[in-house]
């Protein structure tokens, strides 16, 4: 006998499904909104300011980029504990390349270093992936080894000495004072983004009607475009409202944030719309069924880790460029933030379940709490303790939610 509450839930789910919305994501966004309002009040109005939101978006970029890869790793029922050490090692390596090997002011230095760092990440992923998939060593063990190996390799290759400074062009990738695209280009990107959203919604309608399927109601689609547009325009306005110190020149969107947005869109498309992503989810759900369906799960595992390594290379570029230095300790414990973000964002450690955009919201929630607590002057150990509790509570709520939906 269904209770009124469960009927209401079923009804609300149906409405949300008909509207093509992800109930869970809406819930998370709501939680984030509440957290933001609470932090805004608790910091005496210092949280929801252009300055803080600008910094927040910049801070979330590094963890966010890696989280996109971690979602696929966890969905395929693996784990990667080495990501923090990877960005440390790749950072020192990339810094040495610019500072000691290539001419530091050379015009090609930045892109050679960038390519070298991306390739190093991909190679590390390839090595770890091969050990996991073909040698059959559990990913926990391989990447725990990777954590130790690459952290110490980061110390070893330059005897623990921090490498600085870096190439000027390369530094822009970190989103420093000049590492933003300014007001004009921010608005250009904004306009393009709004047009793309509209085009995508329109294209989806056309495709569905071509195959004779029911489309969402036109009201819903228009609302969807409006909400997205409001979000994109609002975001751009905030980034432009933050001005360079002692001037009134708007900063605009930082380059790392653009990178994060790009990575999120691409990785989300890979996870949901690409054959590769479909196979990753199938393998995570049941690797036996996936293999019987003809999927080469070993090759797939290697590719997942290569992708993870590539994104570590990218994250390393961003953080190294922002610090303007390759330090051996960069990224220490970051693997835990990345895994926590993915898990708070609804990625199941049991495999087969997770979304990239959910994980990005997870990363945002973590980063919001952290920077909010910094603004409030909460001591660092206490911040970490709070985040630990949040992680566990988030997973608890998520499990209860899934259980309730299943029954």
């Amino acid at each position: 006998m269904p209770t009124i509450a469960s009927r209401a839930r079923i009804l609300s789910d149906r409405v949300a499904q008909a509207a093509g919305l992800d109930v869970r994501l809406l819930g998370m966004l709501l939680v984030m909104a509440v957290i933001w309002l609470v932090l805004h009040t608790a910091t005496g109005g210092n949280f929801l300011t252009p300055r803080n939101l600008f910094n927040l978006s910049l801070q979330v970029a590094v963890v966010g980029i890696m989280t996109c890869g971690m979602v696929l790793v966890i969905v395929s029922r693996h784990i990667d504990l080495s990501v923090g050490s990877q960005i440390g090692f790749i950072g020192v390596f990339g810094a040495l390349l610019q500072n000691s090997i290539l001419p530091i002011d050379g015009s090609s230095t930045w892109w050679i270093a960038t390519l070298a760092m991306l390739s190093t990440g991909a190679l590390i992923g390839l090595g770890q992936g091969l050990l996991i998939a073909y040698a059959g060593i559990p990913s926990f063990v391989v990447t725990l080894g990777g954590l130790l190996f690459f952290r110490n390799a980061a110390f070893y290759i330059n005897s623990g000495v921090t490498v600085a400074p870096l190439n000027k062009t390369f530094q822009l990738l970190g989103g420093g004072l000049d590492g933003t695209i300014g007001a004009f280009w921010s608005w250009t990107v904004c306009a393009l983004a709004v047009l793309s959203v509209a085009a995508m919604v329109w294209r989806s309608r056309q495709r569905r009607s071509r195959y004779g399927m029911n489309s969402r109601s036109i009201v819903m689609d228009v609302l969807l475009i409006k909400v997205w547009s409001a979000f994109i325009i609002g975001f751009t306005a905030i980034m432009n409202a933050y001005q360079q110190p002692k001037t009134n020149i708007p900063m605009g969107i930082p380059i790392p944030v653009l990178i994060l947005i790009g990575v999120t869109i691409i990785m989300s498309a890979i996870a949901r719309k690409h054959r590769f992503g479909r196979h990753v989810f199938a393998t995570g759900g049941s690797s036996e069924s996936a293999e019987l369906a003809g999927i080469d799960t070993r090759k797939l595992t290697v590719l997942v880790f290569v992708l993870m390594g590539l994104l570590c290379g990218l994250a390393s570029i961003v953080i190294t460029a922002r610090l303007n230095a390759g330090a051996s300790v960069t990224g220490t414990m970051t693997e835990l933030n990345v895994i926590a973000a993915a898990v708070i964002g609804g990625t199941s450690l049991a495999g087969g379940i997770g979304t990239v955009y959910g994980a990005i919201v997870g990363a945002l929630i973590m980063q919001s709490l952290e920077s909010g607590m910094i603004l409030m002057g909460v001591a660092t150990p206490l911040q970490r303790m709070v985040l630990a509790v949040v992680l566990i509570v988030a997973v608890w709520i998520d499990m209860a939610y899934r259980k309730a939906r299943k029954s």
Binding site: S289, A290, A293
Partner: protein, 249 residues
């Protein structure tokens, strides 16, 4: 007439144990072959060799008279050999359409999937087989046993199967769903698809199969036409591992 499938002297060992020991068997177009035997008789191993789950140690497989090499499930599927496993081997965390096309997704440039086209095709196949699902976008974990079976059957048939292997097809089904599967087997056989039904229980497949092959301890006891034997005789073959004695043979 050349048989659709011919297995010649198939051997498969696991650590010295002969799971399948020198078995030869053939299947004609449109024939429904029942493969019987106790648990551990080697039926599943034999069928997994044909399905590409693991390659045979020795022996030959011929499809329409041509020797073929089946090293993977992908190879088998390319040759039109489809298998419905007892577990159904569905991905619970994916929806019906995703399961139907798993490993064979319809993609556009760059490997992105054409989901609308896949959904349309899935709808057509299910309709053609008179299988009904409440919603194609529900995750398989929320479907009933019969509905899951429908997804597994649709997946096997959709890609123009020539040989269909069904492992314990009705073991997990109620009487009504069992009748449906029986009707479907008859219909597919009329279309010329060769069907192999595997069971440890004679009653499950006696009425469906036109020919019965019995295995015991990895060896083929023999194959008989269903019309020529009684259920008791087949049961004796399974238990004793001997062909029924005929006064006139």
């Amino acid at each position: 007439m050349t048989p659709l499938v011919e297995l010649r002297n198939i051997v498969k060992t696991f650590g010295g144990v002969h799971a399948v020991d020198d078995v030869s068997l053939s299947l004609a177009e449109g024939e429904v072959l029942g493969l019987l035997g106790h648990n551990g008789a080697g039926k599943s191993t034999l069928i997994k060799v044909l399905a590409g789950v693991f390659p045979a140690d020795s022996g030959t497989i011929l499809i329409q008279g041509q020797p073929v090499s089946i090293r993977s499930t992908r190879d088998a599927k390319t040759l039109g050999i489809e298998t419905i496993y007892q577990t159904l081997a569905l991905s619970e965390n994916l929806d019906s359409v995703a399961n139907l096309f798993l490993g064979r997704e319809m993609t556009g440039p760059l490997g992105f999937m054409n989901e609308e086209a896949m959904e349309e095709q899935a709808r057509k196949t299910l309709g053609r087989l008179k299988l009904h699902l409440p919603s194609l976008s529900s995750l398989v974990q929320s479907l009933s046993g019969g509905q899951r079976q429908a997804v597994a059957i649709a997946r096997a048939i959709h890609f123009n199967a020539r040989v269909l292997i069904m492992d314990e097809p009705t073991a997990a089904l109620g009487p009504e769903e069992t009748l449906k599967v029986a009707a479907l087997v008859a219909e597919l056989s009329r279309q010329g698809i060769g069907i192999i039904l595997i069971s440890h229980d004679i009653h499950d497949i006696f009425d469906l199969a036109s020919r019965l092959a019995v295995m015991k301890n990895g060896r083929l006891v023999g194959a008989v036409s269903t019309a020529d034997v009684t259920q008791d005789e087949v049961l004796a073959m399974i238990i004793a591992g001997k062909m029924p004695e005929r006064p006139n043979s």
